[in-house]
């Protein structure tokens, strides 16, 4: 069975990353959801992320 069909046959369990309203609405419907308090890493700064890109 393909993974997508497996998903169709299982209980949907969501990791929500970003807008809180999506998590709230899933909770309203009593669905399993974990909300990720996502923040951009490196202060959202590409310059900082680029430093890490130098890692060999």
């Amino acid at each position: 069975m393909s993974k997508i069909n497996e998903l169709f046959d299982s209980e949907l369990r969501v990791i929500n990353v970003g807008l809180e309203s999506f998590s709230k609405e899933l909770k309203m419907q009593k669905k399993a959801v974990v909300h990720v308090e996502w923040k951009p890493v490196a202060g959202g700064n590409k310059k900082l992320a680029d430093i890490l890109n130098q890692l060999s």
């Binding site: 923040k39 490196a42 202060g43 900082l48 430093i51 890490l52 060999s56």
Partner: protein
């Protein structure tokens, strides 16, 4: 309430005793601190939270303030044979592949740059420090360079207990320095410096909050919480930028400024030790 996971050290300690009561020291929503009858610090955290040193993680995340009251004496299910155990020891981290010096330098550069960009206004990175504190910080740097333990102790006496928070900012900073040193000397024993963590611990006795005294004491034993340990692992072992970033990010989340203050300590100490190893200024400075 069941205990799911326990600090290895704590389990060893408790295994020698019968089931004895704990006195509640301080309660928060998802953490609760206790003192054993011998005055040893123990912390319970809610499900999914990171395990602290001498910590126990339980199987739910209901508000702990409804379960425990400050000053209460309680019994905890510490003898449950199903409890899993975790080592929170920087000295016993085993790494498959160690990171190169160059990469360590890059990681430190990243840490510094992030703290500069991101810092909370109340963190040590951002706030203005009084003259006395600045002076003690300078003394600390000099005394570490010279590996002079007496001077380190004097410097620490002028720093411990300063700052806001249950663990004052400077205490977090010093903890970060100690942990980095501990991890560094474990990985690179040729560093050959005297361990200064004990004198910092001595300097702190009675000068700061109980929580902080214990935090420094644990650090002096090379012990720290799960996310800090994970970060240290990512720093010293070969890791991808992504993994390192995530581990770094997790430590910054600790408390409101504690994570940042601690990380600042780690950066300062890591930079000092790297410079020392490379003899003078690093070509990647």
């Amino acid at each position: 309430m069941r205990i799911e996971m326990m600090d290895h050290h704590l389990q060893r300690q408790l295994s020698h005793e019968g089931n004895r009561p704990f006195t509640v020291h301080s309660v928060f929503t998802h953490a609760c601190n206790f003192l054993t009858e011998e005055g040893v610090w123990v912390t319970i955290v809610s499900q999914h939270r990171r395990l602290p040193p001498n910590g126990m993680r339980i199987d739910h995340n209901r508000d702990l303030r409804t379960q425990f009251k400050q000053g209460e004496r309680v019994f905890l299910p510490v003898k449950d044979p199903e409890i899993r155990v975790m080592k929170l020891d920087v000295t016993s981290l085993s790494m498959k592949e160690k990171e190169t010096r160059r990469n360590q330098s890059i990681k430190l550069e990243y840490m510094k740059a992030c703290l500069d960009e991101k810092g909370m206004p109340e963190s040590l990175v951002k706030r203005e420090l009084p003259g006395g504190i600045e002076g003690s910080l300078r003394l600390l740097e000099q005394s570490l360079d010279k590996n002079s333990l007496e001077a380190v102790k004097k410097a620490a006496q002028g720093l411990i207990g300063f700052g806001s928070g249950l663990t004052p900012s400077m205490d977090d900073y010093l903890t970060g320095r100690i942990l980095m040193w501990k991890a560094w000397s474990t990985n690179f024993p040729e560093t050959a410096e005297e361990d200064y963590s004990r004198v910092i611990e001595e300097a702190g006795r009675g000068k700061t909050t109980a929580a902080s005294e214990w935090m420094i004491r644990f650090a002096a034993e090379g012990r720290c919480s799960e996310e800090i340990l994970c970060f240290i692992d990512c720093f010293f072992a070969k890791s991808s930028g992504r993994e390192f970033e995530e581990a770094f990010h997790e430590v910054l989340q600790i408390g409101s400024t504690s994570g940042e203050d601690l990380m600042l300590g780690m950066v300062k100490e890591g930079t000092r030790l790297l410079k020392k190893v490379e003899g003078g200024s690093s070509k990647w400075d």
